[in-house]
Symmetry: C2
Subunit: 89 residues, 2 copies
């Protein structure tokens, strides 16, 4: 398979996994209810995504760098909502 | 940085992002409450993780293949709980 197709699959994978956090962010923001979401998931996921970003930079892999930079910001926002709304309830 | 160190960082990143779904799985299974989790997140995430797995296979990247195969199974289980418990409530 050509390099371009492979990169395209990587970018599509990156777009999907990164985009997936958007509906969660919107749902948490609208409903102000986050208790069913695991705090540990968000903490470990955030740390892991950060390391993926570092890994992407080290192997110069564009899909990995892009995906994980944006995912990291989104997960941090969901984490922020989790801490804020769980405390309020 | 040596190739071994880079692979180690990738494997650590992989371990963290994959492991992150375990506390969510345990929490959802124990509490039987999943309504705050976005269904769209799980669906898009599942599709994205599947494509990452394909991407990893195409570029022969061990951390990406390993991480996403296990993550995929875990996310499918969380999705199963989400569908099951939301319907029951």
């Amino acid at each position: 398979m050509g390099n371009n197709v492979v990169t395209l699959i990587g970018l599509l994978a990156a777009t999907l996994t990164t985009t997936s956090f958007v509906p969660q962010l919107i749902k948490s923001w609208r409903k102000r209810e986050t208790k069913d979401i695991s705090l540990w998931m968000l903490l470990i996921l955030g740390a892991g995504i950060f390391l993926w970003m570092v890994y992407g930079l080290l192997i110069h892999d564009l899909p990995i760098i892009l995906a994980n930079s944006i995912s990291f910001v989104l997960v941090i926002f969901i984490l922020f909502f989790k801490i804020r709304y769980d405390r309020g309830n």
